[in-house]
Symmetry: C2
């Protein structure tokens, strides 16, 4: 398996890994040095591809292969170039690099696109830096609330989003005043290749996934169970206000809901990622008076999430009463699900079948920039590349053979829609 | 309600609270300044009672009212004089002070005991200072393992038990070599008055409890669930190794056992006092790979505890397998239960009934020095005094009226056994 397109991709991956290494893994902070290097690297790589390189005022980079009719709505291939601290080399970057490799392959094959094909390198996707989802793609469409530019600070520097953007020559002030650098009407299709962040493709032995939708989520950052501290031996059961047993009972209620959804064939996952008694007050011989926990519910069906919220709040009230505690789920934040375009999914399935690519359709549990495009009414698709050991860690492992399979599928799709 | 006995007790409580105050509450560290003051205070108070004051080499203080036949096995009334940091004034001290008040009342009533009546002020009962149970009473019987004298350090000073004892003129070296300052054969009866540390007497509206036994305990300080961290959205249920749901499932298993014990009328309580994901690695959008928790099981029936241990270890294995995690309960420490003397309980019930004292029999969930005496084969009894707001906190609240009721019962009992 070697070709100028694969060689280009391999060379970009290698240079990116070497230049943004912070052992273990790589670090490419949003609007930081690593991301900045990645944006420079891809622009440099496309010189001999003859692409037009432009940036928007949010810092997103567009590498455009002009089509025969430049007035037609364009085809986008995109992903982000930032990473989590000490993350892997492929999360995000694989999508941008595959876009460039696809153009290399199409050019080498003599293809001439009817419409512009644009590879978009998106800023600031990783929530760990600025706590707002899909900052780069949402800024492109003018969707980030005005107050967030000065309100959000980067986790490592403590400096605001606006400050970091100005430092690199971008224009947060115009965005705050309502600028929308990217017009959805000018985009026909957005395709995002990305490594799978879960283990499904590895488990199924498939190199490529065709994504059916991005799970939406309900996130509860501040759940708390308020009970009463008490003597572990001297307090009879009927006098206890035990926050731990109330919280673990609530966890069972979450699993009960999950069991029901599973039986009904409905897409759903639930995670209580943080779950802790208070280290300042708890003790082995003390009934705990407080448990704090977080909850993350996801589904392709946003109505199911909202229905589950109602069910769990009702259960929380019942458990609170029965156990003489207060279970307070507090607020949630809802990122709605995003459904991929059914015609694009079918097209990708056809092309995979026709070319012997062993692909499978699957939901994306993680969020991706393509959700922003789908919410704008743009026809959106997503390709997953098999990846071992999850993402957001230095051990993520994508084989170039699998990358090549996904690239082959992307190239075939672009021949039909480009 | 006033009498020289009650006035003596009230005066001792007041001076103790004033001189060991560390707002909020009082602090009387084991072999520390507050405990030392308390030992001096009670010895000073008994001068005009004509008691013989002696200390043993472990620091316990004995205030003896000689009986007509000094060769007879003695009657002890005892409790401890240390407190937790910022604790309440009554936990421990109420027992010693009630012993002195009882002698005052008996003398005022012209009673002359047949056998010695000894009020014992015990050292170092509060585990928070030195992590070994009932240090003072166990040292008196030579029961503290030799290695603990130099092995245990006080939580606030970091200095060894032996060091603290030597500083006050006691002799840890003789104890390490096997000295047993107190011979169980010389003690006929040990009675410990103590505030109730739970809410039962308040709930029942009773001033006095007659204790049937001290619950034994199994303590598990190092339970751990080892799972695998994973992406909260991208990991399908079948691929999860979620430490939180496994741990909460195990908590349900503990409650199932408790339900069964309750249905069968068996004394049992369970507490998971500490229960936490790892703050260095957990996150709202991350499946947790680790939960640590503690477990404290108590019962009057030590066999039930050991049976429950076997049952819970089996359930831990089943849950581990079903959820693809490892639940490791690690070791337990077992403090066996101690049953109070049935004849003494009957005597106390008779005297309560005869004098119109509204007393109720009940188990003690908390551990007390009287367990040490019971384990030595000494006939042992315990009186609980109603107390609001639990113990080990500055808000514990014992009414002197309730103290007076318990004192009245103790005095009547001593007239029969003294």
């Amino acid at each position: 398996m070697s070709s100028p397109a694969i060689d280009l991709a391999a060379s970009l991956f290698d240079r990116l890994a070497a230049e943004t290494a912070t052992p273990p893994g790589v670090t490419r902070a949003s609007f930081g040095a690593g991301e900045q290097f990645a944006h420079a690297l891809v622009a440099d790589a496309v010189r001999d591809l003859g692409l037009i390189v432009t940036d928007d005022i949010a810092g997103n980079r567009y590498m455009t292969w002009p089509g025969r009719d430049r007035a037609l709505p364009r085809v986008f291939i995109g992903s982000h170039l930032d990473s989590v601290p000490h993350g892997g080399n492929f999360d995000g970057a694989a999508g941008v690099i595959m876009g460039l490799a696809a153009i290399r392959a199409l050019k080498d094959g003599g293809f001439e696109p009817q419409r512009d094909i644009v590879v978009m390198a998106i800023r600031a996707e990783e929530l760990v830096w600025f706590p707002t989802p899909y900052a780069g793609s949402r800024m492109a469409f003018g969707l980030v609330p005005a107050e967030e530019y000065e309100g959000l600070v980067r986790s490592d520097t403590g400096r605001t989003l606006a400050d970091h953007m100005r430092e690199l020559g971008f224009d947060p002030d115009a965005l705050r005043e309502g600028a929308r650098p990217l017009d959805p009407a000018t985009i026909e299709i957005y395709i995002e290749p990305h490594i799978e962040q879960g283990p499904l493709l590895v488990g199924l032995g498939k190199p490529v996934g065709i994504v059916t939708g991005i799970r939406g989520n309900l996130r509860y950052p501040n759940c708390i169970v308020r009970g009463t501290y008490g003597h572990a031996g001297a307090t009879p059961r009927a006098y206890r206000h035990d926050a731990v047993f109330a919280a673990t009972d609530f966890a069972s209620a979450v699993e009960d809901a999950w069991d029901d959804h599973e039986r009904n064939g409905r897409d759903f996952v639930a995670t209580l990622g943080q779950f802790s008694t208070d280290a300042r007050h708890h003790g082995m011989t003390k009934i705990s008076g407080e448990v704090r926990f977080t909850m993350d519910l996801r589904s392709l069906d946003n109505d199911l999430l909202l229905e589950t919220d109602r069910r769990l709040r009702e259960r929380a009230r019942e458990i609170s009463k029965a156990r003489r505690v207060e279970i307070d789920l507090d607020i949630y934040r809802n990122a709605p699900s995003a459904i991929m375009d059914q015609n694009l999914i079918s097209l990708l399935e056809e092309e995979a079948k026709a070319s012997g690519i062993d692909a499978v359709t699957m939901p994306s549990g993680a969020g991706h920039d393509c959700a922003t495009f789908a919410w704008q009414g743009i026809r959106t698709a997503m390709l997953f590349i098999r990846n071992e050991n999850g993402s957001h860690n230095p051990d993520e492992a994508m084989a170039m053979d699998d990358f090549a399979e996904a690239l082959k599928l992307l190239v075939r799709a672009l021949r039909r829609v480009g």
